[in-house]
C-alpha cells in the first residue's frame, strides 16, 4: 500500500515538473518573440524617420529648383557685368600707364641732362619731316640758345622781378662755343654765324649755305654739337630751339614741315646727373609678357655714378614683392634676359626663374653701392643711388599653353566707309579663322588693333574672341569713331561706346596703316605663330 502511494507521488511530481517546464518554455519563447519584434519595429521606425527626412529634403529641392535656376541666371549676369567692369578697369589702367610712360619720358628729357664745363656734347636734337607731297631742300638752318638762371628764369627776369626794370644789356654767358651741325650721315655744317641779343640773353646760331635734301614724306634727324666752355657758369640752364630754315625749290611754308624737338633743356653742372634710359626695344605698349617666354630688358645708364653697381629687379605692384633678376652688374652692362615662369615650370628650372602671377610688375634698374644688392636691414656701406627714370611697368600674363594644332589667323579686316572721314563714324568688321586641325580651347584669346601710322603705334582697341573650332570663323563688328580731339587714342568714349581710330588726316588723303593681331598674349600654341597679323591701309578724308 505504502509503495503504491510512493509510486503515485513520484508520477504526480514528474507530471507537475513537466507541466511547469513546458509552461516556462512557452512563456520564454513568446517573451523573446515580443522583444525581437519590438526591436525590429524600432529599427524600422528609425529608418522611416530618415527616409521621411530625405523625402522632405527632396521635396524642398524640388520646390527650390526654379528659384535656384533664377539665382544662377542672375548671378551669371552679375558675373558677366563684373567681368566687363574688370576689363574696363584694365583698359583704363593700360591707358593711364601709357600716359604715365609718355610723361616720364618727356619729364626725364627735360630734367636730367647736365653737361660739365670743358665737355663736348650733343646739346640739341630734332627731326624734320618733309610733307608727303613735296621734298625739301634746306639751306641756312638757324637755332637759338636761350639762357636761363639756375632757378629756370630767363636771363634778366630775376632783376626785372626785383627792381621792376629789365636790364638792357645782359652779358653773353659764353657757356657754349665751337658749334657743329650733324645729321644722321655726318657733319653738315660748322662755324656758324653767331648773333647775340643782349635784351633777352639769346644767342642765334645760323649755319649758312648748308645743302640738305629731305625726300617727300621722309624724316631727317639733326644734332647740334657744342663745346661747353671751361669757364661756363655752374647752374646756368640753356634752352635750345629751332629758329627755322630757308627752303629752296619754291616751297616756303614752314608750317607744313613737321618738327619734333628732343631734349631742349640742359644745365651746366660739375656732377653730371645720372639717369636710366630704357631702350625702345623694351616698349611693351601694354602688351602682356606671357609666362614662360623669355624677354630681354635693355637699358643704358647715362652719367653713371662712381663705384655704383646695378641690380635689375621685378616688383609686383600690388603685393610689393620683389625678385632680383640680376645683381652686381657694372654701369656699362645694358641688358638682362629672363623668363618669368609659373610655379610648375620653376620646379625644373635652373636660374632666373620666378614664380610669378598675373599682375602688373615694375622692372627696376637699381644703382647701388655695397658688396651685394640688399632690400631690407641692409649692412653698413650699402646705399641705393637716387637716379631718375629707373622703372618701367608691364603686365605679366597668366597664360599656359594647351592647344598644339590650332592656328588662328585674321582672315579679313574691313573698315567702312572708305576713305574714312575726319571726325567720322563707321564700322569695322574683322573675321578671325582657325585654320588648324584642332579647336582652340583657351578662353582668354585677345586681339588688338593698332594704328601704326605713329611711331611705336597707337592702340585703337582690344577685345577677346570666343573659342573657335577647327575650320571655324568668328566675325567681330565694332562701331568706330575718329574724333581725336575728344578722345585720347585708344580711349573708349563712355558716352557713345565708340573707339577712336586716331587716324592722321593731315594732309588730306594720308595713308594710315591699321594692324590687327590675333592672340597678342600668345595664349594659344599654334602650328604657325607667324601668321597672326593683318594690315590695312586706310585713307582719311577731311
Amino acid at each position: 500500500m505504502t509503495s503504491l502511494k510512493t509510486k503515485h507521488s513520484i508520477i504526480a511530481g514528474f507530471i507537475l515538473g513537466v507541466t511547469i517546464f513546458g509552461c516556462v518554455s512557452i512563456n520564454l519563447y513568446y517573451l523573446k518573440k515580443q522583444r525581437d519584434i519590438r526591436a525590429a519595429n524600432t529599427v524600422l521606425s528609425e529608418k522611416i524617420k530618415e527616409s521621411e527626412l530625405l523625402l522632405r529634403s527632396f521635396e524642398e529641392k524640388t520646390t527650390l529648383l526654379p528659384s535656384l535656376k533664377m539665382t544662377l541666371a542672375s548671378t551669371s549676369a552679375e558675373l558677366e557685368k563684373v567681368r566687363m567692369d574688370k576689363t574696363d578697369r584694365k583698359n583704363k589702367l593700360l591707358n593711364l600707364q601709357k600716359q604715365k610712360k609718355d610723361l616720364e619720358k618727356s619729364t626725364e628729357s627735360l630734367r636730367s641732362r647736365t653737361f660739365p664745363p670743358g665737355a663736348e656734347r650733343l646739346v640739341f636734337a630734332m627731326t624734320l619731316k618733309a610733307p608727303s607731297s613735296a621734298s625739301l631742300s634746306l639751306s641756312n638752318l638757324g637755332f637759338g640758345d636761350q639762357l636761363y638762371d639756375e632757378e629756370g628764369l630767363i636771363a634778366g627776369e630775376k632783376e626785372f622781378r626785383q627792381t621792376g626794370t629789365r636790364p638792357s644789356n645782359i652779358p653773353n654767358s659764353g657757356d657754349l662755343e665751337t658749334f657743329e651741325l650733324w645729321d644722321e650721315d655726318g657733319l653738315v655744317g660748322r662755324e656758324p654765324t653767331l648773333q647775340y641779343s643782349a635784351w633777352i640773353g639769346r644767342l642765334s646760331i645760323n649755319f649758312q649755305k648748308v645743302r640738305i635734301y629731305i625726300p617727300a614724306g621722309k624724316m631727317k634727324k639733326f644734332y647740334l654739337k657744342a663745346k661747353i666752355s671751361e669757364s661756363a657758369k655752374i647752374g646756368n640752364r640753356h634752352g635750345i630751339g629751332f629758329n627755322g630754315a630757308d627752303f629752296a625749290g619754291g616751297f616756303h611754308d614752314q608750317n607744313e614741315v613737321e618738327k619734333t624737338v628732343i631734349a631742349p633743356i640742359f644745365s651746366i653742372g660739375n656732377t653730371p646727373t645720372p639717369s636710366v634710359q630704357f631702350y625702345p626695344d623694351f616698349e611693351f605698349n601694354g602688351m602682356p609678357w606671357p609666362l614662360n617666354k623669355s624677354r630681354t630688358v635693355y637699358w643704358q645708364v647715362i652719367n653713371p655714378p662712381k663705384d655704383a653697381k646695378i641690380a635689375v629687379v621685378l616688383q609686383n605692384l600690388l603685393t610689393k614683392e620683389t625678385y632680383v633678376m640680376k645683381e652686381n652688374l657694372s654701369p656699362y652692362d645694358r641688358h638682362v634676359t629672363t623668363s618669368p615662369s609659373s610655379t610648375k615650370h620653376c620646379l625644373s628650372a635652373n636660374t632666373n626663374c620666378f614664380s610669378l602671377s598675373f599682375a602688373l610688375y615694375n622692372v627696376k634698374v637699381v644703382l647701388y653701392r655695397g658688396e651685394q644688392y640688399c632690400e631690407k636691414n641692409c649692412p653698413e656701406g650699402f646705399d641705393v643711388v637716387s637716379v631718375a627714370g629707373t622703372s618701367k611697368s608691364f603686365l605679366i600674363g597668366p597664360q599656359e599653353k594647351y592647344s598644339q594644332n590650332a592656328d588662328l589667323i585674321v582672315k579679313s579686316f574691313e573698315l567702312t566707309p572708305s576713305p574714312f572721314m575726319w571726325k567720322g563714324k563707321g564700322t569695322l568688321t574683322i573675321v578671325f579663322k582657325n585654320i588648324g586641325t584642332e579647336p582652340v580651347t583657351e578662353n582668354n584669346i585677345r586681339f588688338r588693333t593698332h594704328n601704326i601710322h605713329y611711331l611705336g603705334g597707337i592702340m585703337v582697341f582690344d577685345n577677346y574672341i570666343p573659342k573657335i573650332p577647327a575650320g571655324g570663323e568668328f566675325v567681330y563688328t565694332q562701331t568706330i569713331d575718329n574724333d581725336p580731339p575728344k578722345l585720347a587714342p585708344g580711349e573708349i568714349n563712355t558716352t557713345y561706346k565708340y573707339y577712336s581710330l586716331a587716324l592722321s588726316c593731315s594732309p588730306e588723303g594720308t595713308a594710315n596703316t591699321l594692324q590687327t593681331i590675333i592672340d597678342v598674349d600668345n595664349v594659344v600654341a599654334e602650328i604657325d605663330e607667324q601668321n597672326n597679323l593683318i594690315e590695312k591701309i586706310i585713307y582719311c578724308k577731311s
Binding site: 567681368r83 630734367r111 630751339g241
Partner: protein, 118 residues
C-alpha cells in the same frame, strides 16, 4: 484513479489554463499588433524609397547638385573678380596720382622752354 489524483490533474490543468489565458494570450496579441505595424511601415518605406530612387527624382537631385556647385563657383569667381577690381581701382588711383605729380613737374619744366620763334 483516486479522488486525490483527479484533483491533482484538475489543479495542473487549471494552472496551465491560467498561464495561457492571462499571460500568453496578451503576449500573442501584442506580437500580432507589432507585426501589423511593421507590415504597414514596410509598405510606407517602400513607397518613399520608390519615390526617392526614381529616374525623375535622381535627375532633380543631380540637377540641383550641379546648379549648387556652379552657383558656388560663380559666386567664388565673382568675389575674386570684385577683389581684383578693387586692386585695379587702387592701382588706377595710384597711377592717376603719379600722373598728376608728373604732369605738374612736366608743366613746371616746360615753362622754361624757349619762347615762340620770332
Amino acid at each position: 484513479m483516486t479522488q486525490r489524483s483527479i484533483l491533482f490533474f484538475i489543479i495542473i490543468l487549471a494552472g496551465v489554463a491560467v498561464n495561457y489565458i492571462f499571460y500568453i494570450t496578451p503576449l500573442q496579441k501584442e506580437i500580432s499588433g507589432f507585426e501589423s505595424t511593421i507590415s504597414s511601415q514596410r509598405a510606407k518605406l517602400s513607397i518613399i524609397e520608390t519615390k526617392l530612387s526614381g529616374p525623375e527624382a535622381q535627375k532633380i537631385v543631380s540637377e540641383y547638385a550641379d546648379i549648387e556647385k556652379t552657383l558656388s563657383e560663380l559666386l567664388s569667381e565673382k568675389e575674386t573678380t570684385v577683389q581684383s577690381i578693387g586692386d585695379l581701382d587702387r592701382e588706377i588711383a595710384a597711377t592717376e596720382l603719379e600722373i598728376l605729380s608728373l604732369t605738374s613737374e612736366n608743366d613746371a619744366l616746360t615753362k622754361v622752354t624757349l619762347p615762340p620763334l620770332p
